[in-house]
Subunit: 324 residues, 2 copies
C-alpha cells in the first residue's frame, strides 16, 4: 500500500518516549483509549493556530511546536489542572520532511518535559494550521474557574505583561531594539511563553477565580468579571513590566501592551483577603513573581487608576474578526 | 468590549439543548470539566475537514455539519464506544451569519439525536476548515480494536459499499445519473453517512477486530491486517453493492468504488467462527444489513477472489499526499 500519509504520520508522530500508564491505547487505532484516575475531573481544551493569523508564516517549526503546546497548556494552568494527553491535528500544504522532523522533535521534547503523551491526531493537506486538543486532570471540586470572584477580592497576575507583544513587534519589524540581548528576551517571551502550570495547581483552594492571559489583561479580566457578575479597578502603576520592556519602549506603549498586547500566557486570578498570606507561601518557591494589581468591585465594569487617581483607558483585546 | 469573536461564538454555539450530567462545566471557561463514569474507558478521536479536500467548497453548511459529525462518530463506532462530548474548532474566512446559523442548527440537531454535548472549541479566521474532537465511553476491557484478528476469522462489513464515491462523482459532475431518485440516494450516502454506533456497541465481545471504512475497504482492512499480523482473502462477488449503484455504473466501476472509493463510514470487522451465530442475533434488529465478504488468512497480505478463483486487483485508498 503506497500510502504516503500513513507512513508520514507514523514516522514523525508515532513515538512513545514517555508512555503514561493511563493510556490504554495510544496512536494507531480509530480512537485512543484512556483510563481517567479516580476522583479526578477531566479538563479539556482545544485551540487552533493558523499561519499568518496566530503565527508568522516563516516561523521556525521548533518555535511553532513550543508555542502551540504552551498556548494549550496555559488553558489547563488556568483551571489548576495537571497535563496528561494531547491530540494534534496538523494541516500542511506539502510534505516537508525537515520541517516535520524539527516540529515533531521539538513537540516531543516539550511533551516529555510535561510528562504528557500524544494520543492521536490527524494529518491533512491544506493551508498550514493546527488544532491541539489538551487533556488534564484536576481533583474533583478543586478546579479554578472564571466565575468565583467576589467584591473585595484582590486581583493578581503572574510574571510580567506586555513582553510578548513587544517580541512580536520586533519580529514584524515594527519595533527596533538595538541591544540584541534585550531583543532576544522579548522575542523569546513571544515564541516561548511559559504556561503557569505549577502556579495554577498551587492556586487550588486559594484563588476565587482564574484565567490565562491570551488576549490581553483588559479582555481576559473582562471574562472573569462577566462570569462573576462583578467589576474591577486596576492600578496601572502596579502592572508588572519587565525592565527590558520599559527600557525599549515608552511607558505609554508598555502599559498599552500590558493591557491589550495579548499572548503573555500569564495567569490572572483573584484571591479573598483571608487567603493572601497562604497565597504568598504557595507561590513562594515556584520561581516566578506574582503581583497584586487591583481589586474586585461590586459593579461598574473594568476601571483604571494611576497612583490611585481614576484614569480612562481606551483599549481592547485581540479579536480575530475585528480590525485592530 | 466590542469583541465580535466572543459574541459570535456565544450566539451560535453556546446552547445547552441536551445538557449531560457528566458535564460539570461546558463552554465558557478555559477548559471544560468532565466526570468520566466509573468502569468506563474514555475513547478519543479527532478529525480535520478542509474545504476543497474533504468537502466541496460550495457544500450546504447543514450537510457539512452532518458529515463532520458523522466522520468523527464513525471512529467511536469502530471502537464500540458510546458518544458523549464534542469539541469544535472552526476556522472561517469571514463571519457569515446565515452560514453559521445553518451550520450550528444542523450540528445541534445531530448532537441532540446522539445525546451528545458540545463542550468547547475555538473560532479562528482563516481558510474554511474544522477540527472535531469526539469523546465517548466504552466499558473497561470491552473496546473493539484493529489488532485482534486471527487466521480463520470471518470478515464482515455493514451496509453497502461504494455509494458515497458515486455520490461524490455526481456532485463533481463526473457521473451523470438520469433518475433523480437514484442520484439523490447516492448523494445522500455521500453527504449524510450514518455512523454505525449501535452496530459497534453490539459487536463488543463478538468481533475480534474492527475499523470504520473511511479510506476504502482495501486500505482500511489493510490496517486491521497490519495491526493483527495477518493476511486476508476477499471474495469480490460477496461485496455488498446497492441496487442503485449497480444500476448507475458498470460492475467494474462499482467494485472499484466499493474497494477504494472511501467515505462509506460502514464498519469492517472480523468474527471468530464460534461467534457467528451470536453476531447474527446481535445485529438482527438494528435495521442495517451485514455481510460476510471473506476470511482472515495467516499471511500473504490482502488477496481477492471472484467466484472463488484468485484475481488480481490494483487499487488503493484515498491518500491526501499521493496523487490519485
Amino acid at each position: 500500500m503506497p500510502n504516503g500519509e500513513f507512513s508520514l504520520i507514523s514516522r514523525y508522530f508515532d513515538r512513545f518516549p514517555n508512555a503514561r500508564r493511563d493510556v490504554v491505547t495510544g496512536i494507531g487505532d480509530d480512537c485512543a483509549l484512556l483510563a481517567v484516575p479516580d476522583k479526578q475531573w477531566l479538563a479539556i481544551s482545544t485551540d487552533t493556530l493558523v499561519s499568518g493569523i496566530h503565527f508568522l508564516a516563516d516561523i521556525d517549526p521548533r518555535d511553532l511546536a513550543c508555542k502551540a503546546l504552551a498556548v494549550n497548556l496555559s488553558d489547563l494552568a488556568a483551571m489548576g489542572a495537571d497535563p496528561a494527553w494531547l491530540t494534534l491535528s496538523l494541516t500542511l500544504p506539502e510534505v516537508n520532511e525537515s520541517w516535520l522532523e524539527a516540529f515533531s522533535d521539538s513537540l516531543f521534547e516539550r511533551l516529555s518535559y510535561y510528562d504528557m503523551q500524544l494520543i492521536g491526531g490527524d494529518t491533512t493537506r491544506g493551508p498550514l494550521s493546527m488544532t491541539l486538543g489538551i487533556h488534564g486532570f484536576v481533583p474533583v471540586g478543586r478546579a479554578l474557574r472564571r466565575s468565583g470572584a467576589q467584591p473585595g477580592d484582590w486581583i493578581y497576575v503572574t510574571g510580567t505583561l506586555g513582553d510578548s507583544a513587544a517580541g512580536l513587534a520586533i519580529l514584524q519589524q515594527k519595533l527596533q531594539v538595538c541591544d540584541s540581548r534585550q531583543a532576544e528576551y522579548l522575542i523569546s517571551r513571544h515564541l516561548h511563553p511559559t504556561p503557569r502550570i505549577l502556579q495554577g495547581q498551587a492556586l487550588r483552594g486559594l484563588a476565587s477565580s482564574a484565567i490565562d492571559l491570551s488576549d490581553g489583561l483588559a479582555s481576559d479580566l473582562g471574562h472573569i468579571l462577566k462570569a462573576s457578575g462583578c467589576g474591577a479597578r486596576i492600578e496601572l502603576s502596579r502592572l508588572p513590566l519587565s525592565g527590558t520592556l520599559t527600557a525599549c519602549v515608552s511607558h505609554e506603549q508598555a502599559l498599552n501592551w500590558a493591557l491589550a498586547g495579548g499572548e503573555d500566557y500569564e495567569l490572572c486570578f483573584t484571591v479573598p483577603e483571608r487567603n493572601r498570606g497562604a497565597l504568598d507561601v504557595a507561590l513562594g518557591n515556584l520561581g516566578v513573581d506574582w503581583r497584586c494589581i487591583g481589586r474586585i468591585t461590586a459593579a461598574g465594569g473594568l476601571n483604571y487608576s494611576m497612583d490611585d487617581k481614576p484614569v480612562t483607558v481606551e483599549l481592547k483585546g485581540y479579536d480575530h474578526f475585528t480590525e485592530q
